[in-house]
Structures are given as C-alpha cells and as structure tokens.
Symmetry: C2
C-alpha cells in the first residue's frame, strides 16, 4: 500500500483536518499521479456535512484533481511518467452496462465509483478524493491535460467544466439560441464561457445587480436582475434554454415563464429540497425541466481538448489547504470569483 497525506472530515460535524491514509499499489492498468491542485466544489461541503445522504467517514473530499504522473502500471498505454493528468468525479464504473458502453459512465446502471465518498467496484473499498498528495486511478478514468493552460485553473474543469459543457452539448445549444445562465458561481461562470464559445446569445440571471460587470467580463451579452419585476417581465418567453446552476431553493415557475415555447430548463445544481413545479408552467408552451449530471469520460476529454484549443479555464482563487474551512464559509456566501482551488503543495 502507498501511504498518503490527506485532509479529511472524521465525522459530519468535524472540520477537515490532516489525516494519513493508504492507497492501493499501482496495478497493471493504474496510473499514480501526484496531485498539484484540487478544486473546491460545493458538493464537497454538501457531502462532508451529510446534506445529501449518509456519507462514508473519514471522508477525503475533492474531485477536481490535476497533477503529474509518477508511476504507471505495466499495461498502461495512455500515460507515461511526467505527463499531466486529471481525474474528475469518477474513478471507475461497471464498464459493461448499456450506459458505460455508450460513454455515459456517469449514469452507470450498476453504480459507478465516485472519486470520494464512494466505493470501488468491489463495492467494499472506500474511495478518497483529491484533498491529498497522490492518487491511484485506472488509466481509463484518467484524463489528459494540456500543457498550454494554467494547471491550477484547469482543475475545476473536471467537475464545474464538464457539468456545464455536457448539457450544452447534449441539447446542442449554440448559434441562434438564447441561453440564460442562472447563478454565477463555479458552475455558472463556466456555463457562460461555454455558452459564448458555442455561439449562443448568453444572459446571466442573478439576484445581485453587483454581478453584472463580472458577467459581462466573462463574455455574457446580457444581464437580468431577477429581483426586479420589470426586468423579469421584459425577459418573459425569451430564452430557448436556462442552465440552472443554483443549489439554493428557488422559484422554478418564475424561471419557466422566461422560456420560449419548447424551452428547456436544465438543472445541474442540486437544491436539498424538491422543486415545486406547476403543471401549467410546463403545459403552457411544451416546456421541460431536465437534469444533467457531470459527463462521461470521453466527453470530459473532449471538453478538456476544447478548452485547450479555445484557451478556456476557470477563474480561480488559489488557497492554502489550512484555509479550507474559511473558504467553505465564503463559498456558501457566494464570495468567490469563481472557484477555490487548493494548492496541494500547502498540504504537509
């Protein structure tokens, strides 16, 4: 076994703190890479606090992981020592179900292995995430990272990036479409960048007028303050798609009224309470509320390659891991432009 230094929550009520644990030896198809940066996702906090479901403790969060390959197994073909590498929300899946065969490992029908707070495919061994110095992952679940981009700013692409890229691609959002991005946080700011890159006319919907300048800087064409009834009224029936990145409670019926006929409200955030949706909000214009979760491995690589080609990364604030609890508090308040990334060199 490989001894690893990490940061873990020992229980749902304890703060993250240093924890020594072990990872498996590098198997024939495994890649071991030393973690250089790990993004901080809102779901890290949801999970260490058991806000979604009963977690597996101790829990080492982190699924926006980039680093440098240190060792590869005898049969590994896709990576060599010294390559940049990344891992997102998944470290394995059944590989045999219909969805896995169709590059939709995120929807593995037998249950995939989440990067942390999950179990390996033996359904026994817990997984530990990227708030740690090194990780061992089957090569099929390791992504290639371009040398061209700022590596720390690439980390959030592994979750915030693919979570917004995948639905925009699935629903073929692009030229001729009006896309609204709801919420301007870690996911939302990537939704704006991808929407603009795909040729859509992008509007940011936000309760905070103060975010308009930032939204425009990110490339958004328009900004609607959703707490202003006049602005909401003017936007009614105008959007083809809403990309909803908000994980706080919000009024779906109001947002559905902003969609055009046949419009789709795509949820990628996970509010802890169910959405309340009136039948007439959907029937009055053949509208849909859809959900989309991260992306498959092939699509994640496609997204990373697209980002390298178009020079797209996240806007980040690099932090020392000892500041993680304070950073969570700022994240909850929306006080981050737009993603915290841990400099893993600060983890001793």
């Amino acid at each position: 076994m490989i001894p690893v230094k990490g940061y873990a929550a020992q229980t749902p009520t304890s703060d993250l703190a240093s924890w020594d644990f072990q990872r498996r030896e590098v198997g024939p198809h495994d890649v071991q890479f030393d973690i250089l940066f790990c993004g901080v996702c809102h779901s890290d906090l949801h999970q260490i606090k058991n806000e979604w479901f009963e977690g597996i403790f101790p829990m080492v969060p982190g699924h926006e992981i980039v680093g440098k390959v240190m060792k590869v197994g005898d049969h590994v073909k896709k990576f060599k020592v010294g390559d940049l590498a990344g891992t997102g929300c998944l470290v394995d899946s059944c590989r045999t179900c219909e969805n896995c065969k169709n590059d939709l490992e995120q929807y593995c029908l037998k249950g995939n292995s989440q990067t942390y707070n999950g179990l390996e495919q033996d359904k026994k061994t817990p997984t530990y995430g990227g708030y740690s110095r090194t990780i061992v992952v089957h090569e099929d679940f390791v992504l290639h990272i371009s040398e061209k981009l700022n590596l720390a700013a690439v980390a959030p692409l592994l979750c915030a990036g693919i979570t917004t890229y995948s639905p925009l691609r699935h629903w073929k959002v692009g030229k001729g479409h009006k896309l609204a991005v709801l919420g301007l946080g870690g996911l939302g700011h990537m939704g704006v960048k991808f929407g603009v890159a795909f040729g859509a006319e992008v509007t940011v919907l936000s309760t905070s007028p103060s975010k308009e300048k930032d939204a425009k800087k990110l490339g958004a064409h328009h900004f609607v303050v959703t707490s202003d009834p006049a602005q909401v009224k003017a936007a009614m029936g105008t959007f083809d798609y809403i990309l909803d990145t908000v994980s706080a409670e919000h009024d779906f019926n109001m947002y559905l009224s902003l969609l055009r006929t046949n419009g789709v409200h795509i949820c990628v955030g996970v509010p802890s309470k169910p959405a309340e949706i009136a039948a007439f909000s959907l029937l009055g214009g053949r509208k849909s509320v859809a959900g989309s979760g991260i992306g498959g491995l092939a699509e994640t690589q496609e997204m990373l390659d697209f980002c390298a080609e178009h020079n797209i990364v996240s806007d980040i604030e690099l932090i020392d891991i000892k500041d993680i609890t304070a950073s969570y508090a700022r994240m909850v308040k929306g006080d981050v432009r737009y993603r915290f990334v841990i400099d893993i060199a600060t983890l001793h």
Copy 2:
C-alpha cells in the same frame, strides 16, 4: 344574434342547468354547425368549480364538439352545408405571432380564444362551449370529421385525442420505444390506442389491478400495478417515455425512477398542486419532466384523419344531458369507460 339553448353553471357553486343565450350571426368566414355530441372532459368540472382559476360565468362548458354544418358564411371555402364538423378547445387565436404561424395556435403568444370560459379575440366577448344546440366558429377553427367513424365516439378526439396524440408525435414515440401510460381514463385510454398504433411497446401504470383486463383489451402489452412494490421495482429504469394523464396528486420521483437514461415524463394532466421533483430524480439519468397542451389546428386535423384511416375512436358512454351532474360524480371516481359523451338531442 342566434338564440341558443344550452346548459350552464350560473356560479361556481351551482349545478349545471338549462340556459338560453345567444351566439353571433354567421359572418363571412364563419361556419355554424348544429351540435350532435359533446364529450365531457375533466377540465369541464375543474373550470365550472373554479379549481384552476377564476372563471367567466354563466359558463357553458364543452370542448369536444361534433355536429353537422347548417350554414356557412359567404367566404367559407372549406365547408358546405351538411358536412360533418368538429371544434376542440380553441375557437380563435391571434394568427400573427410566431407560434400561430407555426401551427401552434395552442401556444398563441397573444392569448388564444378557448372554446368556453374564454374571450373572443376582441378580448371582451365571452365564449360558450358545446353543451348547447349550435355553435358559430371561424372556419379556420373547424375540423373535418370523417363519415366513416361513430360520430359520438369521435367527439372526445377533439380534446382527449389530440392531447395524447400531439406529445407522442412531438417526441416521436414509436417502434423501439417503451411507453408507459399513467392513468387509464379519458386521456389514458387514448394514449394507449395511439401508442400502440405508432408501434411502441405500451405499458399501463395504474393503482387498480382491476384495470389490467381493460388495458389489455385496449391494446396495451403490459400492465404494472404501481401500488405493488415488487412490480414497481421490476419496472425501474425501463421506460423511454411516460405519458402522465393523471390530474390527482402523485409521486413524480417514483415515476421518474421508472424511466431509462434520457427518459421523458410528459405531463398532460393538470394536478391542482405543484409537482415536487427532487433534483437527483432528474440528474441521475439526464431525465426530463415536460408538459404538453392539446395541439394546433393542423395537427388536430392530422390526428382526425389518422383516426379515420386506422379506425380509432374513443370508448364512450353516451349520456342524457340531465344526468351531467351525476356523470361528473362518476368521472371523479374514475367510474367511466372511458369518456362520457352527451347526446345533445337530449337538450331541449
């Protein structure tokens, strides 16, 4: 003006009773047809009881209307005296908005004119429905009815028929798809007939085991009793589409679990309380909840022609209009196979 005998609710708390009112004279583009049969839709009851919104009283319900043309305006080209004719939920629309131009008058952006409990395009004159002896409608909102079919059983096609036909066509449900029809009432039984006619493998979902025989008689291939956990478990992740015709409260998250990846739950019923939908029910398989309302005029004619070609009508119970209140009570209990139709000859 043309004097007309009808049945109306004078207030939201009064039962339907005989009422004499007037319709406009036949204009140059109008068709007047004497009503022979009018279907009884659950929405008739919702509306006379103000369960959806504040109605316009006196209210003459009925939007599943068939009869025989008695008079046509000078410029009418599509109909002549003696033709069979029908009118569904709409008697007019703005005709100029993007949706009207795209044969989606049901989603008219300026507000269409509902056949009853609505206003003409002058936004002043109330509309009165098919629980009456004769009706005057602009020819563009009158449908041709085949002589080949049982006319009384055609009436429900004008609402129950198009409401189920339209979404199945829009989502291209057919060969190779597993379609679940939720609820086996006026809409549901038409959903089964169309699903089967389009080549889908059709399952009826119902809380009543007693409906299995009927479901199979209508052509359904399978039947799942949703109050039986074992049957529900076996059906999980199996349907491409659910056509949800239920207007009572129900557990959307349970039904969403029955959908395959990319599955769509299509609502055509209108529960009075909002649906509660957990984010994970949608995200875990890129699922959607969509709504669809009736259909446009061109599609309604297409549906009627399809029915004539494939010998499809509703299963009905013909009633005397004096039994309407008792029939509503039976409808609320689901005690009708599957649509009441009023024999307008009983309205004196």
